[in-house]
């Protein structure tokens, strides 16, 4: 321990010293601990071995639209973890959906039931969509699998990823996390993915309707809108294949993968498409200016944390595990710090702690509103509880500002 801290500040006798890089490999836990809790006399700040403060994220850069053959793409780099995401849109015709006519009627019935059930509930003013729309949104995207994310950890992205191996458990669970988060945040609106057919009606609105180049737009005129929607028919959906590739893995793959998905979806443009009655098929316009971007719900930003404990084997020692109250009391006591919560852990730090926290937060009204949590995951240990989580939500909210700036610029 002395050699590591000593090497940084003043020369040590050569007899017993190791270069810091070797010490880091031989005694990773002691090495990081020496950085985080320097001796009081040395006047050094507590800092991680990679030079960051404990709540500091790695330098993040994002670049959107770098792949030309996709509908949307992005590259996000967080330190040495790099994730590439490409979004490809394909058309799913409703006539190819076996259960389409059946599921549509049952969906409507369930919507009615749900609406009845929600009469007693206090309406939520801040939610711009009505509950029934929400339900249909959810049903279309989830039941028809309109979002298909897949993550692969490419060969050589980190030691141990050999060619020809089946997708590792890590890649599979990350794919699931992406899909689950896409569903639970309801980032993509089903309305953006629907391809409508508007049968020509013989009313006075027909002219007006033809001039309207935004086919999916809801008619501002309420009476006309109701009239229109009655005959409107969904003829197809866009299915978004979201492929993520981690080309370099140095810890915290989820944050990078999610950021690249988010940036790629923000970049995604879908061509204007319509149902052609004469040829009975869905046609797309090749005019780039007619293509429309997705209108995403909010900007959920993921931030992950890892807990580093001073006593790595505390749970194994022949010591009574303090119950939650005692532990809280002890940690509040001013003394030597027993654990650190490290934001955006790199690969080295991830190997040294089992307890993980992943938070996904969003801010309402484009950053001016309050912070809402969209996902909070914590497992692998028992040291983090309410107070820490509250602080982490604040840190994640700050990270949100930073990520918004980065994503807006890309």
């Amino acid at each position: 321990m002395a050699s590591a801290t000593g090497a940084a500040s003043h020369p040590v006798p050569p007899s017993l010293s190791l270069p810091p890089s070797q010490f880091a490999r031989l005694q990773p836990h002691a090495y990081l601990l020496a950085h985080l809790s320097p001796p009081a006399a040395s006047n050094q700040p507590s800092i991680r071995a990679n030079g960051r403060a404990s709540s500091q994220f790695r330098v993040t850069s994002a670049n959107a639209g770098s792949l030309t053959h996709t509908n949307g793409s992005a590259v996000v780099r967080m330190g040495d973890t790099t994730s590439v995401c490409g979004v490809r849109a394909e058309i799913l015709r409703t006539e190819d959906i076996a259960s389409w006519s059946v599921s549509r009627t049952s969906n409507e019935a369930s919507n009615k039931r749900r609406r009845l059930a929600e009469l007693n509930e206090k309406p939520n003013e801040e939610d711009e969509d009505t509950a029934a729309d929400d339900e249909e949104d959810r049903a279309h995207i989830e039941d028809l699998n309109l979002l298909v994310p897949n993550l692969s950890l490419s060969t050589g992205c980190a030691p141990g990823f050999t060619p020809g191996a089946p997708p590792s458990a890590l890649a599979q669970s990350l794919s699931h996390q992406l899909l689950s988060l896409l569903h639970s945040t309801r980032l993509v609106r089903a309305d953006d993915l629907r391809i409508w057919y508007q049968p020509p009606s013989l009313g006075p609105e027909e002219l007006e309707r033809h001039n309207d180049d935004e086919q999916m737009d809801v008619d501002p005129n309420p009476s006309g809108g109701v009239e229109d929607h009655k005959n409107r028919e969904i003829k197809g959906f866009w299915v978004l294949y979201i492929d993520v590739m981690i080309i370099s893995l140095a810890g915290n793959p989820f944050d990078a993968a999610w950021a690249s998905v988010l940036a790629a979806l923000r970049d995604t443009k879908l061509p204007r498409s319509w149902w052609d009655v004469d040829s009975e098929m869905i046609l797309c316009s090749d005019n780039v200016s007619e293509a429309s971007k997705l209108s995403l719900r909010g900007l959920p930003v993921a931030s992950s944390f890892c807990v580093f404990e001073a006593d790595a084997a505390a749970g194994w020692r022949a010591v009574v595990i303090p119950d939650a109250e005692e532990q809280k009391a002890r940690s509040q006591k001013k003394g030597s710090q027993q654990r650190w919560i490290l934001a955006d852990p790199d690969g080295y730090e991830e190997n040294l702690g089992q307890e993980r926290i992943c938070l996904v937060v969003d801010k309402e009204k484009g950053g001016k509103g309050k912070t809402v949590v969209l996902k909070m995951e914590k497992h692998g240990g028992w040291t983090v509880d309410t107070d820490d989580l509250r602080q982490l939500v604040d840190i994640s909210a700050r990270r949100w500002d930073e990520m918004k700036r980065i994503l807006d610029q890309c």
Binding site: A318, V319, V320, I321, P322, E326, R330
Partner: protein, 274 residues
């Protein structure tokens, strides 16, 4: 006696359940318990006993032991000094390879680890034959080999008596909990009249079968009981099967002492013995 106490992992053993401490006789811990020290910052410094498994706390004031009785149908894991019944699988130059539990690696029994065995006098055991042996060592880590012996290496005697090849008789499977219970019961003082560990089945059988010539029994911790009634002449096989059935049914049904007595007389009647 105190009320039965069921502990879950992480729970402390209340001090009033421990046998009174004697200075020169330290408390012995059985499986499922471990001694932990309170963290130094806590006010009540000292040591506590906590459970690491779920089970029934039992104490023995005479032997000054405290242990946790866990579920009885668990798989047998070899532990040093356990007495077991092993079956020879094959033999090699120096060792007999024995099966202790199914679907596990073979245990090794030295060809010379028998009482009075030399290169010339060692027993020539064939595949399928049984030995009553003691676990000498279990090794450490993955792929460790279990070594058995039928002799006390220090004295060269088969201690305790009966170690060595088991000739004749039959082997019955019981749960490991039942096997441990039989061993505890047999090690209790023989003059004790009332039921030891709630078991009267053996003493009942002993009384009833005395007329036909008695029987011999060996219990292995790995859930095997070897029974031999070769003295019983014509009814030897019936008596052997009857003893096995009594033990197995006592085990499966968790029978009480009166039920055990009824069971013994019913089975002996059915088998027309005694």
């Amino acid at each position: 006696m105190t009320t039965p106490l069921v502990l879950l992992p992480g729970e402390e053993v209340p001090s009033d359940h421990l046998p009174p401490t004697k200075n020169n006789n330290p408390l012995k811990l059985g499986p499922g318990l471990r001694l932990l020290s309170q963290p130094s910052t806590s006010a009540a410094a000292g040591h506590v006993l906590t459970a690491t498994q779920a089970g029934l706390l039992t104490t023995d004031a005479k032997r000054n032991t405290v242990s946790l009785l866990s579920f009885s149908n668990r798989r047998y894991l070899p532990t040093t000094n356990d007495l077991i019944i092993a079956q020879i699988h094959h033999s090699s130059a120096d060792y007999f390879h024995c099966m202790v539990t199914p679907h596990t690696a073979h245990a090794l029994l030295g060809q010379l680890s028998f009482e009075g065995a030399t290169k010339k006098t060692r027993p020539m055991l064939k595949q399928g034959e049984l030995v009553y042996a003691r676990v000498l060592s279990v090794g450490i880590g993955a792929g460790a080999e279990v070594e058995l012996t039928c002799v006390n290496p220090a004295t060269g005697k088969a201690e305790p008596g009966g170690l060595g090849p088991l000739v004749g008789g039959m082997v019955f499977d019981v749960s490991t909990g039942m096997a441990a219970r039989l061993i505890r019961a047999s090690s209790a003082s023989p003059d004790q009249t009332d039921a030891v560990e709630g078991l009267v089945v053996l003493s009942e059988l002993d009384k009833k079968l005395e007329s036909v010539g008695g029987f011999e029994i060996a219990v292995g911790r790995n859930g095997k009981v070897w029974v031999d009634c070769s003295n019983a002449g014509d009814s030897a096989i019936q008596a052997t099967v009857a003893i096995g059935r009594c033990l197995q049914q006592t085990d499966e049904g968790n029978l009480s002492t009166s039920e055990q007595k009824k069971l013994v007389s019913r089975i002996l009647r059915e088998m027309k013995i005694g």
